[in-house]
Symmetry: C2
């Protein structure tokens, strides 16, 4: 390594921040878990709140938006990128890996790998997610890629995100809608249920009240575990007592401050608007 | 007026199309009503499906997006513009009128004028809409502008749009959520209820089942009535037996074809993707 004087702005790789992004603020459940498991890491989060949700958009649009955000994170010299959005993890991972040599993690593979380790071979596993994630077939592809023999039964649950964001996660209405969504999965003998959307950990308690037989796999937790292993293996871990958490969003309203609290559940060092893409 | 030969490309003003836009496809309930009341008019609709919804975005963003769409419609030489989106009607009408001399109608004023004509002076009237529309205070402003003395009680109903789009408009879950939203309005003695979101006509039947005492004011219907009067007064009506309906969206997915049927309820001549704004 060069001396300080000759290259004063050079930061050693492990001191750099980790970049995390999502279509909105739901990915903060992933950020929270990374912060919990890796409290010494500086974190930069981008939520594309001006263009949320991605789940109902075409793959071409999702890839374009994701590339714009990755350029924003790379400009801040991050050492790794976590795509904390199932829709973007479904469609945009390859396009992002074409842009950089730093490690890029999605939220799908870690959850699927956990399933293949925990669930019996040939057993029935459930997957709930947004329409975009389900129709992408990304979980089936990841299961195949990880040589999992589990049978995946999928159900798109488009009403769960608005119910969670509006504080209805534990309501009677949410129970009725969850029963609609989950009854076929229970009837098929689901043991493990993959929560394929970053919002869903916040409705887990209602799911388990209705279906206590389900064992939930939370991609936020699994992704943070894989990130920790990856940083450790490559000597990229930042060994510090304190770290900063900075949030950027493409649009800011009062309700976003409430969602930040709902999803991240603690204070941050920065929470401000930043623009990405060619249209700004 | 000039002769045909000297200016061959000049189309007489009344032959031109009417431009209608919304953040998404909900504004098709307004388009449908215009088509029903003015079957001789050629209609061009733009739905900003790549950036829907507007309701949770800042006013600056909503104005920017609206101006981009209006440029798209003006390039197609429309004779009038209908802002078939409550959020854009709340924030962007002045900015749009600064761009053009053709008539520009929002969906708020027609509904409010209808209320001032129908409801008793000083009576309690209800308003349901998205968060963005409610927090804009646009209905209160329009009521004042039209010298209405009714007392407006507002309730943001953010879950109704997803419930409607997912086919839950007549479900038990929708009833529970509607009761949460509407009970305070009923308790306050609401007689007339303004449906302040273009989606809401599709949940009207459930509202009336729960609260048969409410008289609903549908902005789609009222806006089409005002548009008809305006075109007639200015000699801008196109007197024809048949007309074309063309839909453009900024992003297309399979579910948008389903929503087009849900909201417009008949076939169209064109339904395709078009880009607006500087980012394309």
């Amino acid at each position: 390594m060069r001396g300080r004087c000759s290259r004063p702005r050079m930061m050693s790789q492990n001191q750099k921040s980790i970049g995390v992004f999502d279509s909105g603020l739901g990915g903060l459940t992933v950020l929270r878990e990374i912060h919990r498991q890796l409290p010494g890491e500086n974190l930069i989060y981008f939520g594309d709140t001006a263009r949320v949700p991605y789940g109902n958009k075409s793959s071409a649009t999702i890839i374009r938006y994701s590339r714009e955000i990755v350029r924003f994170l790379l400009a801040r010299d991050v050492k790794a990128i976590v795509v904390a959005c199932n829709t973007a993890s479904s469609y945009a991972l390859d396009a992002i890996r074409d842009m950089t040599d730093i490690p890029v993690l999605g939220v799908i593979d870690p959850a699927v790998r956990s399933l293949t380790h925990k669930a019996k071979a040939g057993s029935v596993a459930g997957l709930i997610a947004t329409k975009g994630t389900i129709s992408s077939g990304a979980y089936e592809k990841a299961l195949k890629g990880n040589h999992g023999s589990q049978q995946l039964i999928s159900k798109a649950c488009p009403l769960l995100v608005p119910l969670i964001e509006e504080g209805y996660a534990e309501s009677k209405a949410a129970e009725l809608i969850l029963r609609d969504y989950l009854e076929p999965l229970a009837a098929a003998g689901t043991e493990y249920l993959l929560l394929g959307c970053t919002h869903y950990p916040l409705i887990a308690i209602t799911i388990l009240r209705l279906y206590p037989q389900f064992k939930l796999i939370d991609s936020a937790e699994e992704t943070a575990i894989e990130l920790r292993t990856l940083l450790s293996d490559r000597g990229l871990m930042r060994d510090a007592q304190a770290a900063s958490v900075e949030l950027f969003v493409s649009d800011m309203t009062d309700s976003m401050r409430a969602l930040q609290q709902l999803f991240f559940q603690s204070n941050v060092d920065k929470f401000e608007v930043a623009q990405v893409g060619d249209d700004h």
